[in-house]
């Protein structure tokens, strides 16, 4: 446990110091500021008593800001997951870790947890910001918002875990790209799964079930200024659970391969 914590904390510290984080953060802030600056018009609309316009614009801005923040988080998840192990190999810091009595799975899990803590904090900041703006602009949000936030956390876990798992057997950039392609595979395959031609249907079915479970609705987009009727919380929770199970399975397989992998530094 001490070793896991030590590796996790070090991975977290390392992630905090990555240049890519600051670049993404800067870009995200720029976009948020650009979108936020348009709120000037909302004040005018409020003075004019156009409350419906204020709400509509607020929801629109909110969705854009939250969407961009999540996009940044998912990009970071893919990138950080992909380089989670390879960065240690290229920096050669792995040698003095793996030459100690550290089990491979503990090392891999520690690296992943370090990245996850960082991503969760990043998402937490976005979540807190979204809630504050929502209160400030009097934008009502639905009870599904919490599930929408949970979905973001699950997707960050999924992207980082799958990218990290793939990076054990392939180059980091390829691992990140594959993890992303895997996540969109069901959407691509969805149109062909009912195709009468088996040659089209079979690969589509494989692709559909190979990817992670898909949420039936866009929870984040649906959570502001509207309340869904007959919300199937159980279904949403099941999708999130399946995706967590998926990433855990990928991680276990990755650990199996990582145990057999040589630590070659150049």
């Amino acid at each position: 446990m001490v070793k896991l914590f030590a590796i996790t904390f070090t991975a977290f510290q390392e992630t905090l110091r990555r240049r890519v984080f600051y670049i993404v953060l800067l870009l995200t802030f720029l976009v948020v500021i650009m979108i936020g600056s348009q709120m000037f018009f909302m004040r005018m609309a409020r003075h004019a008593g156009e409350t419906q316009i204020v709400t509509n614009m607020g929801v629109h801005f909110m969705q854009m800001i939250v969407g961009f923040w999540n996009f940044a988080a998912l990009f970071l998840a893919l990138f950080l997951g992909g380089i989670g192990v390879s960065s240690e190999i290229s920096a050669r810091t792995i040698v003095h870790v793996m030459s100690r009595p550290v089990k491979r799975w503990v090392y891999l899990l520690g690296r992943w947890f370090g990245i996850l803590i960082f991503l969760y904090l990043f998402l937490l900041v976005g979540m807190a910001g979204a809630l504050l703006v929502s209160v400030w602009l009097n934008i009502p949000f639905a009870s599904t918002l919490w599930l929408a936030f949970a979905e973001n956390y699950v997707m960050a876990t999924f992207y980082s875990g799958v990218a990290l798992g793939f990076s054990v057997v392939m180059p980091p950039m390829l691992a990140g790209t594959l993890a992303f392609l895997l996540s969109i595979l069901p959407s691509i395959a969805q149109n062909a799964i009912h195709d009468p031609r088996w040659l089209h249907r079979m690969p589509a079915l494989v692709g559909y079930y190979l990817g992670p479970a898909q949420m039936p609705v866009k929870l984040m987009a649906e959570s502001f200024a509207k309340e869904r009727l007959h919300t199937d919380y159980w279904l949403y929770l099941r999708v999130l659970g399946e995706n967590i199970f998926y990433v855990v399975a990928v991680f276990v397989v990755a650990t199996f391969f990582f145990r057999r992998r040589e630590v070659r530094v150049r």
Binding site: V2, K3, F5, A6, I7, T10, Q13, E14, R17, A91, R92, T93, V95, H96, V97, M98, S99, R100, P101, V102, K103, E262, V263, R264
Partner: protein
């Protein structure tokens, strides 16, 4: 070197090959290497660059897997958790996290080596003081000089008081003072009963600290010799005889005749016999060209390692 019961390191027929990208070319880094290192000894592992020293060390640590042969540490397979628990390792250049302070870095490595937190708190400052880094213990590693990083690398290897110390060129980047300190630490660790496996290019350090020398060439053992035996060999003298005559042959007697080139003969004898032999040769009116000490460690190294060292 010794029987198996006392062996800390047992390497048998070890072979490691690397394939280049896209598997076009195969490079044999270690070839049929066999070696025993006995408990409490200090073994020097020397050889030119590319001889396979670091690869052998990585195989010892279980970071690489052999193609053939076996590596056992403390009777356990290389890479076994229990074996790794008992090893302290420092690589040629100590690569660590620049954002950690020296003390935090040692704490991290101590935790990984299963040292209790209370002991890390006592041992880390002690090791830093021992290696002359006491004043820099709260400084971030990224601000360290190369020599300071190397010293920190040695400190982390010693932190958990390992039974086997594997040092891969520990004096790289160190000033003479630092080199002296490392040599002293090796001798201190030896006195404590630690087995030291030292890969080095600095033959004077090897001569000073080691009990046994293994010279590696192209992945194979070219020479494995006890330092005492080696020292006794290097305590021989060579007399260069320029005119080889029957009188000279008679004067030489039973002394060893080594080289014969262009009429010049080199006669080798023990230090105690040198003066007698020289007197006999001069009395026989033999033309003596030079009197010199026979092979030093450097000569041996050049002979067995092929003289391709860059270090």
């Amino acid at each position: 070197m010794s029987d198996d019961r006392d062996s800390v390191i047992e390497i048998d027929g070890l072979t490691k090959t690397f394939r280049s990208r896209f598997r076009r070319r195969e490079v044999c880094a270690v070839r049929d290497l066999s070696l025993r290192v006995e408990r409490g000894s200090v073994v020097a592992f020397v050889g030119p660059n590319g001889a396979g020293k670091t690869t052998t060390i990585y195989l010892l640590l279980g970071l690489l897997r052999p193609n053939r042969g076996t590596v056992r540490l403390f009777g356990l397979p290389a890479g076994d958790l229990e074996a790794r628990r008992r090893i302290g390792f420092q690589s040629e250049i100590f690569y660590t996290y620049g954002f950690k302070t020296a003390e935090k870095a040692l704490r991290f490595y101590g935790e990984l080596s299963e040292v209790p937190l209370g002991k890390i708190g006592m041992e880390a400052p002690r090791q830093l003081e021992r290696l002359g880094l006491g004043a820099a213990r709260t400084r971030k590693v990224r601000g360290f000089s190369k020599g300071m990083i190397q010293r920190l690398g040695i400190a982390q290897a010693l932190l958990h008081q390992p039974e086997l110390l594997v040092l891969d060129e520990p004096t790289t980047g160190l000033d003479p003072e630092g080199r002296k300190l490392v040599a002293e630490i090796i001798l201190e660790e030896k006195a404590r009963g630690t087995t030291v496996f030292l890969s080095s290019h600095i033959l004077s350090d090897v001569e000073r600290t080691c009990d046994h020398i293994v010279i590696l060439r192209e992945g194979s053992v070219a020479l494995s010799e006890n330092m005492t035996a080696l020292r006794s060999k290097s305590d021989e003298w060579e007399i260069e005889v320029l005119s080889w005559t029957p009188a000279a042959l008679e004067a030489v007697g039973r002394a060893e005749i080594r080289d014969q080139q262009n009429g010049t003969v080199v006669v080798r004898c023990a230090a105690a016999e040198k003066n007698v032999l020289l007197r006999r040769l001069l009395e026989a009116d033999v033309d003596v060209g030079a009197v010199r000490r026979a092979a030093s460690l450097e000569d041996l190294y050049m002979r067995y390692a092929g003289g391709t060292s860059s270090g």
